[in-house]
């Protein structure tokens, strides 16, 4: 085993530990702030895996958009609502919910894992210049250039639609969270 291969294994397994540890942290932490920090750990692990798979642009976007924007949004909401007190995880509203959920999750992973292992040799790596990498192309921005050509060429209509989606999402959120003066007065009187 060469040094480079050994290094790739070290990177893969340490990032895998980060991902799974963070994910388990998200679902077991009592405090939502700690769960959000577990989510950050998972997202960074996924970014490391993206780098290992030569998807450099996606790794950068993963860190900026997910770990930057989305987790900060989560933390903002946690702080804004003051729901950062610990929750009692021993309460189980539906009696057999947890064993049932565990059986479902394990079954899901088992089935998908079995399918992956069985299909291991079904897909061959296609030859040719499918994905440009920095080592092959000689430039450091080969991945970004190829992704941009694909995004603004083949998928330009879908790209335009995402801007519509974002506008709709922002407008909808402003409408949802706005305090309407008359409405607010109604709820105040009905709550009192």
């Amino acid at each position: 085993m060469s040094d480079a291969t050994f290094l790739e294994f070290v990177v893969f397994f340490s990032a895998a530990v980060m991902i799974l540890g963070g994910a388990i942290g998200v679902i077991t932490m009592k405090n939502p702030v700690h769960a959000a920090l577990g989510l950050v750990l998972t997202l960074f692990g996924v970014a490391v895996q993206f780098v290992a798979m030569q998807a450099h642009f996606l790794a950068a976007v993963q860190v900026i958009v997910y770990a930057g924007a989305i987790v900060v949004l989560f933390l903002f909401v946690i702080m804004l609502l003051g729901v950062d007190e610990s929750m009692d995880l021993s309460i189980e509203p539906i009696p057999i919910q947890r064993p049932l959920a565990a059986v479902m999750a394990v079954g899901l992973v088992g089935l998908v894992g079995a399918a992956i292992v069985r299909a291991r040799d079904a897909l061959i790596i296609a030859p040719g210049d499918g994905i440009a990498t920095a080592a092959d192309a000689g430039t450091h921005d080969a991945n970004i250039k190829q992704l941009a050509t694909n995004l603004y060429g083949d998928h330009v209509f879908a790209f335009q639609l995402t801007s519509v989606l974002l506008i709709v999402a922002v407008a909808g959120t402003v409408l949802l969270t706005r305090k309407w003066p008359k409405d607010a007065a109604d709820t105040e009187s009905s709550d009192a």
């Binding site: 994910a23 388990i24 798979m53 804004l80 729901v83 994905i131 992704l147 694909n150």
Partner: protein, 103 residues
Amino acid sequence: MIAVIEPTWYLLLAAMLFGIGAFGLMVRRNPLIMFMCVELMLNAANLTFVAMATRLNDINGQTAVFFVLVVAAAEVVVGLGILVSILRRRPGATADDLAELKG
């Protein structure tokens, strides 16, 4: 240059991540944590997309991840907006209390 580690490993890792996210979504009652679990599942899908893009040598998989990112951002914005407006009226509401939305 193709990564030395087989894409199968990445797919298995993504399957485990998806399973953890699905378990958390079914078990946790705090709506915020449930959103985080949805994010975990979306990340598992992203990992699968990039692994298959590497395996099939096709850049379209990486473009798909880009779109997933945009949709995830929009989903979080709308979801947290709904959550803020609910929790403003009923502090400490859990997912079970949201049945009050009906009728």
